[in-house]
């Protein structure tokens, strides 16, 4: 890609957005104070930060619940997506028969089916997990399917020349070829799993013993505790960013030695 884009020193990539963020927060705080906006309309960042610290007890419990659902859904999505993609790669008939249903699952808005799932599953957390899984599943499946079929044609010939078994072709050629695709899918799905978990909890609208961040947002809304709502919102965003960052890092670690996408840093 364009080398000009990659010219700037590394620290600029961190510092520049940071400055923009701080400026935005600063003007937000200033505006809230200057125009004396009441906190139940728009709290300033300082107040939100204070609320976050004050309510950390309840919020962190909810964060933990949401994280558990998100990661469980992501794990199931990754395992099942990978397994199904491998199955598709083995048999074109299976792929043709099943793929449309995966698409249907993908294009149906989760808010529309969440109520049904919540009715069918007797456990709310199980229902949330299923919803998050539905949203997270497709990118992994479709990406990995493409990846498994993207193995270099000459390499496939080479494996055939040496009489490789189906299993050898799968494990030594197709799965490694699919790895960057799978990881790209996983990165998308990480964020989607979180969104799925949050949206489903909004629809469920129930708290109970172990409620997640979405319920905290709803609850704070009902009680007009707007700073707390913002604090929960901040946590959701931060979690999304952290998940994306962690999965990008994982992808980098796994691919850095051989794949172009992970080799941005010119090594000497």
């Amino acid at each position: 890609m364009s080398t000009a884009l990659r010219r700037e020193p590394r620290w600029v990539r961190w510092v520049a957005p940071l400055i923009v963020g701080l400026l935005a927060l600063g003007s937000w705080e200033w505006a809230v104070r200057a125009y004396e906006v009441p906190p139940y309309i728009l709290p300033g960042p300082v107040l939100i930060g204070q609320t976050l610290l004050r309510d950390w007890g309840t919020l962190s419990t909810s964060l933990w619940v949401t994280l558990q659902i998100t990661f469980a859904a992501l794990a199931v999505a990754a395992t099942l997506g990978l397994a199904l993609a491998v199955l598709f790669a083995q048999s074109r008939a299976i792929e043709i028969s099943l793929f449309p249903y995966a698409v249907i699952l993908q294009v149906t808005p989760i808010v529309a089916i969440a109520p049904l799932i919540i009715i069918w599953a007797d456990d709310v957390r199980l229902a949330l997990l299923i919803c998050a899984w539905i949203v997270a599943f497709f990118p992994i499946l479709s990406n990995t399917t493409v990846g498994l079929n993207s193995a270099d044609a000459n390499l496939q010939d080479l494996f055939r020349l040496y009489g490789a078994t189906r299993w050898q072709v799968l494990t030594r050629l197709r799965l490694p070829s699919a790895m960057p695709f799978f990881l790209a899918g996983l990165r998308i799905s990480g964020g989607l799993a979180l969104i799925g978990a949050i949206v489903a909890e909004f629809v469920a609208g129930t708290g109970g013993r172990a409620s997640g961040l979405a319920y905290r947002i709803l609850e704070a809304g009902y009680q007009l505790q707007i700073p707390r709502m913002f604090a929960a919102l901040v946590l959701v965003s931060a979690t999304g960013i952290a998940i994306f960052g962690a999965l990008s890092w994982l992808s980098y670690l796994l691919l850095r030695r051989w794949h172009e996408s992970a080799g941005a840093g010119e090594s000497g």
């Binding site: 270099d152 040496y162 490789a164 030594r172 790895m179």
Partner: protein
């Protein structure tokens, strides 16, 4: 020439290939290859050289004719192939790439890697065992590819324009090294190229092909005593052979 009594390693009789698209890529090719031959297939783009090579390798079936290995049936399953691109697994080190054919045939990893390391040394890549393809130059990748093709000690080595994508300096060096390897070990080679100079430098036998349909139109031999000349590549004899082969190629293209 090669033992009149010994059966040839490879025989092609009336081999043709028509693709489902209707293209007659190869028509009526007769060819015989003795053990230890170095044969160059020379011809313009699209004359069916790759198709012929892939049929010999068993990767595609001829639509007519017969390909046999009279000297020994095992030879069909003992073929090394070098593609125009290095065709390495990017996720594996040079060593793991070279060890692949051995491991696919069931050899234990340790032993396969030992032999792969020895082979890497023979192609001049000692010390690069742990390098990933991305970290190797085009010429080095091609050497890895050649090492991978030779590591099984194949009865027959098929090379499809292996050096076409390389710069001239690298190509000369690889030509020299390939020739040295062949002189030391006398494996049997079919080498596809569209370079007259390369074919004269490398091969004892040069088979000229013409396109539409792809067929053999001439065969020339470079006498061993000429090839043994010191500085063969800059000699007048070399130039004379190149001229001769060029003329054959021109005639082939005029016919086609």
């Amino acid at each position: 020439m090669h033992g009149l009594q010994a059966p040839p390693l490879l025989t092609l009789r009336g081999v043709s290939k028509r693709f489902p698209t209707g293209t007659l890529a190869v028509e009526g090719v007769d060819l015989s290859l003795a053990r230890g031959d170095f044969l160059a297939l020379l011809g313009p783009s699209g004359c069916g050289k790759s198709t012929l090579l892939r049929m010999i390798a068993g990767l595609i079936e001829p639509t007519a004719g017969e390909i046999s290995f009279p000297a020994d049936r095992e030879a069909r399953r003992s073929i090394g192939f070098v593609f125009q691109e290095p065709t390495l697994m990017p996720w594996a080190t040079a060593l793991r790439n070279v060890a692949l054919p051995l491991e696919l045939s069931g050899m234990r990893r340790r032993q396969a890697e030992e032999r792969a390391a020895a082979m890497l040394q023979r192609v001049g890549l000692a010390g690069f065992e742990r390098a990933y393809p991305r970290a190797l130059s085009g010429g080095m990748k091609m050497r890895v590819s050649i090492a991978r093709a030779l590591v099984t000690n194949p009865r027959l080595l098929l090379m499809d324009e292996p050096f076409a994508a390389l710069d001239e300096i690298t190509r000369f060096r690889l030509n020299n090294d390939l020739l040295a390897l062949w002189q030391a070990e006398r494996f049997t080679v079919v080498f596809v190229t569209h370079s007259v100079f390369e074919s004269v430098f490398l091969a004892e036998r040069i088979v000229v092909m013409a396109p539409r349909p792809g067929r053999i139109v001439a065969e020339l031999r470079i006498p061993p005593e000429d090839r043994a000349l010191p500085e063969f590549r800059t000699s007048a004899t070399y130039a004379a052979h190149c001229r001769e082969v060029s003329h054959a190629l021109e005639r082939a293209m005029a016919e086609g």
